[in-house]
């Protein structure tokens, strides 16, 4: 009924650790139809210093079995199948304490008797390890504690970036990807080390490895993708497709070899990431050099360390790199935000300055004195027009958008003031103005200022400003036509600070969804502002 195998190990190491190498012993299953087995091996304790501490056995094996030490039952893993009872599967790794009175120097005999109903097609060896019992219990604890610290870091980072993604108005894919990568990592770490504190029945042993494989596959796909987004890599789709093909090839090629395929997944991901990071470093993209260095450091760590520790440490270095990148990005965004605030207040100042700059104020006052001295009645009308222009300016000074009617009023007051100064007739015409529309303050005012400055006084009649509004499906258009002869200027002075003000105001309110065109036409000067929805 029972098959037996001999296993013999000589203990040559010091008594402190009793460490042994893994030793895979092929089972001779004998009768393939039978699920029962018997396994026997001899171990020798050569010397011990601290005899008060218990020794322990670690057994890695599939099945449900009883363990005998020198013929004494020292433990049970699951419930072996018997005639009237089905097997209750044991777990793959189990630990047994050896009674103190049986751990004397010399040869000892270990016998496993049990059954393996499931996974018989996998010819898995049986490992027996003799060690200090306390140490057997403690070493996984140490590993798990460190790995859980890392897992916690990944979990917090993952949640944080999800929140960041949800609450950001820009919904950046890179942020979402980073959150997903962190959470996958957290899962990967938990699943990897769950074996130390959950008794997984041996028939589910490969389920865990499969999950690890899939998680590694996903992470290996996402990390290069993230780096491509971060570094604004070109040909993302092509690289992603190629990466997927390679990963799939590994999956198929090493199907069933879980550890090897996971290792190749990460090597693939790392290779792609390094290529992307180096390319970014060459382009002098922000953070490119740091990430490339971090990735190469990961390779070095992996070279010197045992596979899964090395992998996780390398990944942690990677995540640190990513976090660093994110802070760089956050800094850039903060700077952009500050710049926009600064711009807004600069524009406000620019608007206020329009009416207090010496050219306007002193020339206006000079004319005003003359009007009052020569014809006081009209001088009063002039003062009133000036006061109204100041009132409107004061009302709109702090706004970024004002009703179109207010802008038109501002323009008309300005024309009135200027007609007193220049003694030229200015006429305002408007067509199809939608009273509900808004516009950044003083942009048409600026165009009118330009129009007044750069138009020759007419021999007779007025300089006409014709303001039109049209609405199309996807945009609205404002057209301001100045009907007058243009002055000859050496340089194109119209494209000066006034235009910069207009463009800055349009950007402030509409981002990039606008166009501004100002050019000479046969009848005079035409300015077209389009605002896209």
């Amino acid at each position: 009924m029972c098959t037996s195998c001999n296993y013999y190990k000589e203990y040559v190491t010091t008594d402190v650790t009793y460490d042994v190498d893994y030793d895979h012993q092929k089972m001779d299953w004998g009768k393939p139809d039978s699920s029962s087995f018997r396994f026997e091996t001899n171990v020798e304790i050569q010397k011990r210093k601290n005899t008060s501490q218990s020794l322990g056995l670690q057994i890695n094996a599939f099945g449900a079995f009883d363990v005998y030490w020198d013929g004494v039952l020292i433990g049970r893993n699951g419930q072996m199948a018997q005639a009237d009872r089905v097997e209750v599967p044991g777990t793959e790794t189990s630990y047994y304490q050896i009674p103190n009175n049986l751990s004397k120097l010399g040869k000892h005999n270990v016998v496993l008797m049990g059954s393996q109903t499931y996974n018989k097609e996998v010819e898995r060896g049986i490992d027996v390890k003799l060690k200090d019992y306390l140490q057997l219990q403690r070493s996984p604890l140490i590993v798990v504690s460190f790995m859980n610290i890392m897992a916690g870091a990944f979990l917090i980072a993952g949640i944080y970036y999800f929140f960041l993604y949800l609450n950001s108005t820009r919904k950046e894919l890179a942020v979402l990807l980073f959150g997903i990568i962190c959470l996958l990592f957290f899962c990967l770490l938990i699943i990897e080390y769950v074996k130390y504190y959950l008794d997984i029945p041996y028939n589910e042993f490969y389920t865990r490895l499969k999950i690890i494989g899939w998680l590694t596959f996903a992470v290996s796909m996402l990390i290069p993708w993230y780096f491509m987004l971060q570094f604004e890599f070109k040909r993302k789709k092509l690289v992603l497709f190629f990466l997927f093909i390679v990963l799939l090839a590994v999956y198929i090629g090493y199907y069933g070899h879980y550890d090897i395929s996971a290792a190749y997944f990460t090597i693939t991901a790392r290779f792609f990431s390094i290529v992307i990071a180096i390319e970014a470093a060459i382009r002098k993209a922000k953070g490119g050099l740091i990430v490339a260095a971090g990735l190469l450091a990961g390779v070095v760590v992996n070279y010197f360390m045992f596979y899964d520790f090395g992998l996780f440490i390398a990944f942690t270095i990677l995540v640190l790199c990513m976090l660093y990148l994110h802070t760089i990005r956050a800094k850039a965004m903060e700077e952009a935000h500050n710049a926009s605030l600064l711009l807004s207040s600069r524009l406000q100042l620019e608007l206020i300055k329009k009416n207090i700059q010496p050219h306007f104020l002193r020339n206006t006052l000079t004319s005003l004195i003359d009007w009052i001295e020569e014809s006081p009645k009209e001088g009063v009308v002039f003062i009133r027009a000036l006061a109204e222009e100041f009132d409107i300016m004061n009302d709109i000074a702090e706004d970024t958008l004002i009703p179109i009617r207010q802008e038109i009023d501002l323009c008309r007051r300005h024309l009135e003031v200027m007609s007193f100064r220049k003694e030229i007739c200015y006429e305002w015409q408007e067509e199809r103005i939608d009273q509900n529309e808004t516009i950044p303050p003083a942009i048409f005012h600026t165009i009118i200022e330009n129009g007044i400055t750069h138009s020759l006084p007419p021999k007779e009649g007025c300089i006409v400003f014709c303001f039109k509004f049209t609405r199309e499906k996807q945009f609205k258009t404002y057209t301001l036509l100045t009907l007058a002869k243009n002055r000859q200027t050496k340089k194109d002075k119209r494209v000066g600070t006034g235009f910069k003000y207009i463009e800055a105001r349009l950007t402030e309110s509409y981002g990039t969804n606008w166009s501004f065109d100002s050019h000479a036409v046969e009848k005079g000067w035409e300015t077209i502002i389009k605002i896209f929805d």
Partner: protein, 231 residues
């Protein structure tokens, strides 16, 4: 007398014109221009005595063109809203800078400088703009040893022994030059720092010997004043 007013604001131009006419009475011919370009054309066609200039015309910075004007034979008075440019304007050699808004008194004060004899400027001139073919060269005042009148022109004798011709008359330049310059003869203005000693020649002729050895005549009427100044 011909006066050109370059001013782009009709109301202000009229005001300046009225006040100018009031000051100079009927013996004045006034030309009006509303841009620098038309102003330049007017100057080419009509030799003028005085230019009244607004510095910032139709959005253009008048300083580029100011060099052209100050190199001319006429005097220039700036009437401008940009009061912060006054010092620069004086450095270029304008006779006066009238800030806007202005009244009759202030403008008349400027005209007085134009009509009076002798030094008038605040002595802030740093350069004299000299016409060179079609371009202009700014000659630093401190490089000038003495100035000799030559008909309607003047010769600027410089420290490097070169001579530059200036379009302004000796009388016109005298008004602009700082305190360190002294009119010693009807045809000579001397940089006082260059004066070494007075030489008396036979026949009661007085000359000023410069530090570089040059001899310049001293006007009979000026002798006493110069002798006192030298002691």
């Amino acid at each position: 007398m011909k006066i050109l007013i370059i001013e782009d604001e009709a109301r202000i131009a009229k005001r300046v014109e009225r006040m100018t006419r009031d000051f100079f009475d009927k013996d004045v011919q006034i030309l009006l221009s509303d841009s620098l370009e038309s102003g330049l054309i007017a100057i080419e066609n009509n030799p003028i005595d005085l230019l009244l200039l607004d510095l910032n015309l139709n959005g253009e910075d008048g300083f580029e063109i100011l060099q052209t004007f100050v190199a001319g034979p006429f005097q220039t008075i700036i009437i401008s809203a940009y009061t912060d440019k006054a010092i620069t304007a004086f450095n270029y050699g304008v006779l006066d800078f009238v800030p806007k808004p202005f009244d009759q008194n202030r403008l008349e004060q400027a005209f007085m400088r134009f009509t009076a004899q002798g030094k008038q400027s605040g002595g802030d001139v740093r350069f004299l703009a000299v016409r060179k073919a079609k371009t202009f060269r700014l000659v630093p005042i401190n490089e000038i040893l003495y100035i000799k009148g030559a008909g309607i022109y003047t010769e600027l004798h410089l420290a490097n022994n070169k001579i530059e011709l200036h379009d302004k008359s000796l009388e016109a330049l005298e008004k602009l030059l700082p305190e360190t310059f002294e009119r010693i003869h009807k045809s000579y203005i001397l940089c006082w720092e260059q004066a070494d000693k007075i030489v008396v020649e036979a026949g009661g002729k007085y000359s000023m010997q410069l530090k570089n050895g040059d001899l310049l005549p001293i006007g009979r009427s000026k002798y006493k004043e110069i002798k006192n100044k030298l002691i």
